[in-house]
Amino acid sequence: MENASKENGKSLATDAGLYEGPGFIATKTLNYLKTLEAESIQIFREAAAEFARPVMLYSIGKDSSVMLRLAQKAFYPGKIPFPLLHIDTSYKFPEMIEFRDRYTREIGVELIVHKNQEAVDAGANPFALGTQKCCGLLKTKSLLDALSEGGFTAAFGGARRDEEKSRAKERVYSFRDSFGQWDPKNQRPELWNIFNSRINKGESIRVFPLSNWTEADIWFYIHLEKIPIVPLYFAKEHNVVIRDGSIVVVYDNSVVLKGEKVQRIVCRMRSLGCVSCTGAIRSDADTVPKIIEEMISFRRSERENRVIDHDEEGSMEIKKREGYF
């Protein structure tokens, strides 16, 4: 009725029954999580439309799981129009690899796995090389190689600005030169949600759809959307050693160092990386609600258990400049 009379454009002056219809000043609100979701979807669509060859960096962690769900939502009922790329250092938790293969098959998305096989064969590991050099070879170099071999012009990443101080300065579209490097002092201005996708040959953009999400937002979203995550996030008894104050899960006794004693502890991972460089936390949270309860009473940041971030002051910034995610 309303629309019909409106289109005729006449006789509206005497029709007083339009109040909820056209011309009504609506006060609508979307809750903050739906707002973040809508903004992330806008970013996914924008990048997928403007870049010739995008790829999504898939780390198998909780942020990647959320990112994957947002990508599904962005292109629904179509399929995700780009492949996932996992940089496998060969030191990832076996549960991660199992989850990766099962879940990506389940939702029908293309998966590319890339390893710096040369370095792995040469025996690259954090004990022999130190964590910085090991990450440089198995993660940063491997990533840059995979991106250039695949000819990818844009790579979605799950980094959040609340994770670490140098990430707080990162744009949603983070420009990388032809060496894959980030220049924090010379970032493209980024206003509103208008993103500049233009690049020259060899250059690329890292796209961060979760930029404005916090750790709490991620967990709330996982809970509300019932998003599958790697079981390592849930507390369970593991064989572990205590190394420099970190709880390191042991799968294979050959990595136990001299003087270390293997013990069984109920613990869980707060973030996921390589086995030897990711500490567990003592916790009995074995469901998402329990993890959320634990997180809000927790007073420590989630990357605290990542040995690699604490090599020296500003070490994340150094890695990022070199091309690390």
């Binding site: 005497t14 009504f24 609508k28 669509r45 101080k165 493209r188 959320i292 809000i296 007073r299 605290e304």
Partner: protein
């Protein structure tokens, strides 16, 4: 991470989740330098609202650097890059996140020096509130003017003036009142709508989170209390739909969906839409989402629309309401912030990205530059980095836009260098100039009524209000606020005979006339109706709510056909 930390108060996990989801999100921006204590203020806010993690605080406490006079240098919590920590300056926009039991906050923390105007603009572009810091020992400075100007330029609806370092002026009320008055004068000059001033000491923590015992004379909210309670306006005219198409989703022959984020308006299945630039009409069939079809879509939802008809529509096109279409034009003027070291010159060609549409554009003329410190307009022939100027543009194909003051999404654009791909500048559209293209032919022709209607964006009308001058006044104010050209005439000053004899003049100038009088005799009413035809609105014929406040929105809905310029092309 202070989500509601009191577990007993939850009443179960699900209700705790619900309470958290009900939180609103406030984005605010801060501008300033180390000198005025901005980083200290943010560090203090994060610390006192218990949003800093123990390990982060420990890292700051053991840091080699402490530039503050306190025991903990709170500014270290926010200065992220090595160069910044070492030099004690803030180089880029940094985003911070915290929450209280009432709201979630995103802070865009920007440097305040003149050479970082572009970063300030970046931070301000998405903010609902701007924090302006004033050092109580220094007062309103050039940089205060600069920051306030940028906040008003980028359309931030709320300004919080933090009068800082009150500890250095012995917490004196007269100092606060003087600075508050100085700032209010500035805000008035810049037409900043909502301003609140709060006396604080970021270093000592006075009135940041906790109420200060040192300033018993101050009874207003603390800094955090204000952030938690400032109203967030999220109003949208239901049929001002703007839906820029970002992506076409076509998984198989049976589904063709147009994906995008609603920029304004409310979209429901069955609603009529017009696609731009083709001007083809259709109706919304469904609002498809991963979570099932939605009954309605409104800003800032990202959805996928399917239409009743197979119309040609692709990325860069826009679906709009037929009732309230945007301007469609290749020629407009905008305020521009220039970011690049390479100067902007008239005649240069750029790429202009506006919503999901990228077109070639040319800067035709630089009207003037605004001196961001003195706010004086200066004539210039080129723009340098960090300049803000009023510029006339022409694009190769049309844009579908609204003035920035009405719509931040459809009123904004960025400029890109076609060779280097650098983001050169950002623009906020002020006005459509398509009706001002003067050719040799038209130079001496009189301005027609339809040209006037097009510029106003509405037709003229006559609204009769009997026996309720207060309603007439309120209506005039509301219409004026919605950018109508409106005038309120009272029967006491203007007899109805004068209105009758002058109405054709009002009509040809495109005015909406509100005529308020006592009771009008039926003959006069008939004559007025004959003059204004279907644009005569007799409010006494309507069953309006008693409260004027409630009546106005309803009258508004009746007046919407006045804006249907696009539907009646070539009719006048």
């Amino acid at each position: 991470m202070s989500v509601t930390a009191n577990k007993e108060a939850w009443g179960g996990f699900e209700s705790f989740i619900d309470q958290n989801l009900a939180k609103e999100l406030l984005r605010f921006t801060t501008a300033g330098s180390v000198d005025d204590g901005k980083s200290t203020l943010i560090g203090r806010l994060l610390h006192d609202s218990k949003s800093v993690f123990e390990d982060q605080l420990a890292a700051v406490k053991k840091s080699r650097i402490n530039r503050s006079t306190g025991t903990v240098d709170f500014s270290l919590l926010t200065d992220g890059l090595r160069a910044e920590r070492e030099q004690g300056i803030t180089i880029d926009v940094a985003y911070r996140y915290f929450e209280t039991p009432r709201r979630k906050f995103i802070i865009a923390d920007t440097p305040g020096h003149e050479q970082y105007t572009r970063n300030m603009a970046t931070g301000a572009s998405t903010a609902n509130l701007a924090v302006i810091l004033i050092d109580s020992t220094k007062g309103v400075l050039a940089q205060t003017r600069r920051h306030t100007y940028i906040a008003s330029l980028l359309g931030i609806p709320n300004v919080l003036v933090a009068i800082n370092k009150m500890d250095l002026v012995q917490y004196r009320e007269d100092v606060f009142l003087r600075l508050q008055k100085d700032f209010e004068a500035l805000a008035k000059q810049l037409a900043v709508p909502h301003v609140v001033a709060i006396p604080i000491s970021a270093l000592m923590g006075d009135n940041v989170v906790a109420r200060s015992a040192n300033m018993p004379w101050y009874h207003g909210p603390t800094f955090l209390e204000h952030l938690e309670s400032v109203p967030l306006r999220v109003e949208t005219m239901s049929d001002s739909v703007r839906f820029p198409v970002q992506y076409v989703i076509r998984p198989d022959a049976s589904f063709r969906g147009f994906a995008g984020q609603v920029a304004s308006g409310v979209i429901r299945p069955g609603d009529p839409v017009v696609s731009l630039p083709s001007e083809r009409k259709s109706r919304v069939r469904s609002i498809a989402t991963f979570d099932g079809d939605a009954p309605e879509a409104f800003p800032p939802m990202s959805v996928t629309l399917t239409l009743e008809d197979e119309i040609d529509l692709s990325r860069g096109d826009m679906l709009v309401s037929p009732a309230l279409p945007p301007r469609v034009s290749r020629h407009f003027e905008a305020m521009v912030v220039w970011f690049n070291a390479e100067p902007a010159e008239p005649g240069r060609s750029y790429l202009l990205k506006h919503t999901s549409r990228t077109v070639r554009a040319k800067a035709l003329k630089i009207r003037y530059r605004v001196n961001v410190n003195s706010l004086v307009q200066e004539p210039v022939d080129h723009l340098q980095m960090n300049d803000i100027a009023y510029v006339e543009f022409e694009t190769v194909s049309p844009l579908f836009f609204d003035p920035y003051t009405q719509n931040r999404t459809t009123g904004s654009f960025i400029l890109i260098d076609p060779i280097s791909n650098a983001t050169l500048g950002a623009g906020m559209i002020r006005a459509d100039l398509s009706d001002q293209t003067v050719t040799e032919d038209s130079a001496h022709k009189p301005v027609t009524a339809s040209e006037r209607y097009k510029r106003h964006g509405h037709y003229p009308a006559l609204i009769l209000v009997e026996g309720n001058p207060a309603l007439a006044a309120r209506l005039e104010r509301a219409l004026f606020g919605e950018h109508f050209e409106v005038v309120h005439l009272s029967g006491e000053d203007t007899p109805v005979s004068v209105l009758e004899s002058q109405f054709k003049v009002f009509e040809s100038t495109g005015l909406v006339v509100i005529y308020s009088c006592g009771s009008l005799d039926p003959d006069a009413k008939r004559r007025l109706k004959a003059l204004a035809t279907d644009r005569f609105f007799d409010l006494s014929a309507l069953d309006l709510p008693v409260e004027e406040r409630d009546a106005v929105p309803k009258i508004f809905s009746l007046l919407q056909p006045l804006r249907s310029l696009a539907d009646k092309k070539g009719q006048d």
